[in-house]
Symmetry: C2
Amino acid sequence: MNKQELIDAYEEFEMKYSAYYLAMATMEWDISTTSPKNGKPYAAMRMGVLQGEAFAAMIDPKNLKMLNDLAAIEDLDPLTKRSVTARLKDLAGMQLVPPDRYTYFEQTKHLANHIWEQAKAENNYKLFEPHLLKVIELTKEYYSYYPKKDELYDWMLDDYERDMTTKDYDAFFDLIKEKLVPFIKKVVAAKQIDTSFLHKEYDPIKQRQFMDTIMSYIHYNLDAGMIAVSVHPFTCGLSINDVRITTRYNTHDVASGILSTIHELGHATCMGQFDPKYDGSYIAHCVTSGIHESQSRLLENYLGRSKSFWIPNYPALQALFPENLNSVPLDDFVAAINASMPSLIRTEADELTYPLHILIRYELEKAIFRDQVDLSKLDQIWADKYEEYLGIRPDSDATGILQDVHWSQGSFGYFPTYALGTAYAAQFMKAMRSDLDVDSLLANSQMPVIKDWLKEKIHQYAGLYTPKETLVRVTGEAFNPQYYIDYLLDKFSKLYHI
Amino acid sequence: MNKQELIDAYEEFEMKYSAYYLAMATMEWDISTTSPKNGKPYAAMRMGVLQGEAFAAMIDPKNLKMLNDLAAIEDLDPLTKRSVTARLKDLAGMQLVPPDRYTYFEQTKHLANHIWEQAKAENNYKLFEPHLLKVIELTKEYYSYYPKKDELYDWMLDDYERDMTTKDYDAFFDLIKEKLVPFIKKVVAAKQIDTSFLHKEYDPIKQRQFMDTIMSYIHYNLDAGMIAVSVHPFTCGLSINDVRITTRYNTHDVASGILSTIHELGHATCMGQFDPKYDGSYIAHCVTSGIHESQSRLLENYLGRSKSFWIPNYPALQALFPENLNSVPLDDFVAAINASMPSLIRTEADELTYPLHILIRYELEKAIFRDQVDLSKLDQIWADKYEEYLGIRPDSDATGILQDVHWSQGSFGYFPTYALGTAYAAQFMKAMRSDLDVDSLLANSQMPVIKDWLKEKIHQYAGLYTPKETLVRVTGEAFNPQYYIDYLLDKFSKLYHI
């Protein structure tokens, strides 16, 4: 094929890939938000088959040749070059996996995910355990087809965050352990903040109404998105003009649903602001988890937990729940949603203890793929680590090892990006604050100005740049976790007067 | 391949086909019930691509050879034989269509469907017209690849109702015209039934609540189904354990939503009662439209409009709308939901005038594909036919040519099955009544007994038999439209004392 034929073939391939991607994403959305339970096993089988079809199409030798031929063209336009190079990198290992095994892995994971949902509802790890062990075994098999690495887990880490390794993460988490574990002890010993009013009764229907206030404040366009309920909140980007979020409402924890919604709106804002020319292309599909999480955490923590954010929004919340909040001044409310206290559920954790939840999962995953763990005791080891780092022990499977969806989906290597992305966000915020008066914009409901900054600096490019490139482009320097640590120590020292 | 290898290959093919089918059905469900409008064009393009992928997989020469080799095996088990034969019949014409044209047809139809929704909302046929004309042109092109037939429309009729031709339908509709048109004039001239209380204000939220009563009465299992809202009500059978319905609520027409829901529950009951061994197989996918419609109409008209049906259900409706219905005796309510009056909207039409709505569409479609119609005047010709057969003329595009979704989806040849299926149902009812005391079962909330009869006689077999075979198997004789005519004349003579 000549250059133009190759480019045409690549465009056709991108269209086909995006069609499979859309089908899978729509089915995921459906199964997580709405589908009746009896039909889920049937759907799980077929989702695996479709993923196998998409996989076979991707690693088709004709396709790989087309990609390699394209990559070899010297004067290829830089955009196609980026896209092709990113694909080839991601396919380097994948192409070695036998397609029938791939389909089987996917089917096994869909089924495991279905069982996890049941097990969590029934608070019964034993129901899920054989499926989890199977997923672990198949993950090992999957990566065994990849080129050999000293550290199997490095493949997984790289799959979620380009160019990150166990060595990089060890350095990052060592810093967290060193700086945060002793500091958290001081916070625990300090005078505690009253959060009791957050745990009164909050009608979920009214909580849903408040989400309209938040969505409107953030200028989330409901003609190009929607909000639904799922067990595990997530964002589903079907295309630039269809980015959906889910949330959950906890009657006795009003902050949980709100912060979770703001978090998902961070993801959605990012995807909704990609340059439309990337819609359906690999550039739109290959934003790394760390970069994505930086955008959700930035909105949730760095903006959504600030007093400035709540100045225009708190009155609407008070108006919906006057009996719970009319006697609570804004400052007390803001202090309460920032209060830190070691807890069992990662997604409900405060900003300060959050990275320790991730540290625990990181250490567990690393040990699993180093075969240094007795897999029959995973739930116990999980509990032990909570005791070690956070000083508390899960009182049930549902608040322990069953709490997260990720492992049921075979997503190992994903968790570390949550802490990493949060740390990226600290560095991005520093850059943003040097350009914008963030607090004044928040207090004056000028979110579009902040969104424009994010769009110009980060979102528009989707996955065009690697995370390392993005950090340098946006902040002028390489990733530096010290910003994150400094931010946490400073904020919580002030909050707890220590 | 030897016999066993062929059978294995066929099973793998069935699984693949059912995966594509599930993906498409889930995306259809999503786009019709929930997806934000800005994302629809992107999704439409990709749904076309996926259908093209499934199509290419089906007409792959290797696949066709496998099907032909299987069909040639003399001692093949009868079930596989049926399935393979049905597929080969359906593929006979399809395999001659170029795959890239197929993808383009599908994309054009998805887009047309999206525009139709807009045009209907805006009551603007001119917006939809170019898309409709394009769909007609492409439908002609599509069937031009099929083997030649004197009557192009016969291919379409056969696609929706196996073995039916223009000649068969002409005979059927001639009978309808001959017997019903003069009879309807008599009904119009008779003393009219009071239906005014059906058109008071009925809160949609409470209407939705009443659907729970209906779903529970019919024993529709919400663990294996769900109810949502869409512009055009439909049933979506994702698998035997996931059969969903949609409905719509009209504040000033309480009967509309109820009867529409019962109609869709008829489809859902049929699909939910297939023998599980057919789940995901072609046997489950090839139930004809006529047979399907016989099951929805049977539930909606022959059962759902009967007094016996309402004896246990009317009190719940009265309790929800006491201000509208407490002064209305059961007999008056039942008379009102059966009242006949020529009207503009097919889906709202009464039982007696309904087949004339179909006759109009049948004549239009036949003329379109005989090139006997000035396509630039379709909306006018539509209106003229309403005036000719029903004595009324649409006062807007939305109540005229824009009312139905079908043409926007390229579903020509589909409408006639609605009348045909309703006629099948009359013949099925006669058989059911000779086995069961239907009225007593309805009045005593014994719907499961009726469902069991339908399951045993019809539903369990899914698409195993052709409609002609099914009629003979269930009723002991070939299709005879006289039962339908007799039923209508008898029922409405009594109702209107003529």
